[in-house]
């Protein structure tokens, strides 16, 4: 089924927590250089899908490929065998993940937060990693905060640092899990601006969010999820303005 053109390929992914089936057969293709926005009511499985893509959640069935490589598993005869943790960690360096609650390391300065993974996971020389980190901080507009500790920053600044931290590994794909949901309304814009800027430069991204306006403006593909399945997907003009399904219409009516 591998199409060969997709940067991220999700096929028949199932996931259950105890008796609750959170993902019930998800198929998704993300072309390189495009932005996919995942919408859906809370509990629809969008965050779980995102976490399954970089193997923060194990799968019960199905597979995820990034740039053609199986994530978290390897094919062994007629079954998928989970990779040792060391291999999974190596794969994750090619996937950037931005959390809702930032999860910056509070005991490290902003610069150290950006340097930690390139040095610790990829073995980049420290000086080189620091230079790159300063470039990235400039890119998210926080060059002057390199030596500050994360808790001294506003929520919006922290999330921009978190995006820069994810970029420091030069990942093939960036995954955003509700990146603005923990922010005060007036700080949402500065984070979305950074993501829009990344979209313009052709970074492949999957963004789980509730920001419909952002989806309309930036997304190449909008995916609407409900009850653990993809209800419909397509360009924003189609999914947001002319939804085919009743559930999509009902959701959009509530959030718009």
């Amino acid at each position: 089924m591998s199409s060969g053109t997709a940067m991220v390929e999700v096929r028949g992914v199932h996931k259950r927590f105890g008796r609750l089936e959170v993902l019930r057969g998800i198929d998704l293709d993300v072309r390189p250089g495009t932005v996919t926005v995942v919408l859906g009511p809370s509990g629809s499985g969008k965050s779980t899908l995102l976490r399954a893509i970089n193997h923060l959640e194990k799968l019960d069935r199905g597979h995820v490929r990034v740039d053609g490589e199986l994530i978290g598993y390897r094919k062994a005869g007629d079954r998928l065998r989970e990779l040792p943790e060391r291999e999974v960690l190596k794969q994750r360096t090619r996937l950037g993940f931005v959390f809702q609650n930032f999860n910056l390391f509070p005991h490290l300065t902003v610069l150290e937060n950006l340097v930690e993974a390139p040095v610790g996971a990829l073995g980049v020389p420290r000086e080189q990693a620091r230079a790159r980190a300063r470039e990235l901080l400039a890119r998210v507009g926080l060059a002057d905060k390199a030596d500050a500790y994360p808790r001294r920053l506003s929520g919006g600044q922290q999330q921009r640092v978190a995006i820069a931290r994810a970029l420091a590994l030069e990942p093939k794909v960036l995954l955003f899990d509700e990146p603005t949901s923990a922010l005060d309304p007036e700080l949402v814009g500065e984070v979305l601006d950074v993501i829009k800027d990344l979209a313009r430069t052709g970074t492949t991204m999957i963004v789980v969010t509730h920001e419909i306006g952002f989806a309309r403006e930036v997304a190449d593909t909008v995916v609407f999820m409900d009850g653990g399945v993809v209800v419909e997907q397509g360009p924003p003009a189609q999914v947001l303005d002319a939804p085919q399904h009743e559930r999509t219409r009902a959701f959009l009516a509530k959030v718009l």
């Binding site: 960690l89 190596k90 996971a121």
Partner: protein, 312 residues
Amino acid sequence: MTATTLDTPRQQDDGTAELPIVPHRRPWRLVAGLAALVLVAQFLHGLAVNPGWDWPTFRAFVFSDSILRAVGVTLQLTAWGTVLGFALGAVVAALRLSGSPILRTIAWTYVWAFRSIPLIVQLVFWFNLAYLYKRIGIGIPFGPSFVSFGTMDLLGALGAAVLGLALHQAAYAAEIIRGGVLAVDAGQLEAAAALGIPRFRQAWRIVLPQAMRGILPNAANEVISLFKGTSIVYVMAIGELFYQAQVIYGRTGRVVPLLMVATAWYVLLTTALSLVQYRVERYFARGSERTPPPTPWQRLRAAVTEIQEKRA
């Protein structure tokens, strides 16, 4: 000013606003403070003039060779007990946090056992280890051994004491370390995992430095209580501070001044440990929301600069 309702309070203005403000007086607070000072003065006076304290004897022994050597032994026991205890404790904590139910159970049992046995009982056990096992060797489990040593040669009294203290300390250290690790936000490990940081580095660079904030106050408590607790090994006739003090007063009959010699050393060294704790805690508080208050020394320096600036 136009005549509005806002002007009405002016009619009641009888000059109250200009009166000086006097805080409520608390005469009994002063009385209680003075009474406490009298008690303290009485106590200090007693220390100075009561011949029972026998300060000349105190002075004669406080820096004597035998006492200084005993202080050395006490410090040695504390250092070994702390280092080995916390090293083993870290391993036990890691086992208790591991995914393996077998390892978790073993670690839990270890903590259960060594917290259940009184230290003094355990020490006497180790002291009599040679009674249970005459020789100790390394080899195949349940099979032949390649090298073996006489238990008495391998484990002298001091070795038995260190072993007992360390094993005892490890049980408590394990729980303290585990508590500190559990207090670190789960999102931190998740972020480290999402960044692909290797497992050991996650623990060493991300989790432990944050766990240290919770571990340190309890760990310092443990080190200080171990330091004083080493006096318990007098039951094994090891020449640590308390034992040595007993030996001397057994010979000279000067009980009180020699207890004061031991007390003075315990207080002095505990104070030093507290200062170290203060410093280390401040180091690990970096980046936290609640910054620790300035040290007394920093406060003093700040006051001095302020005065200098006022003069200038």
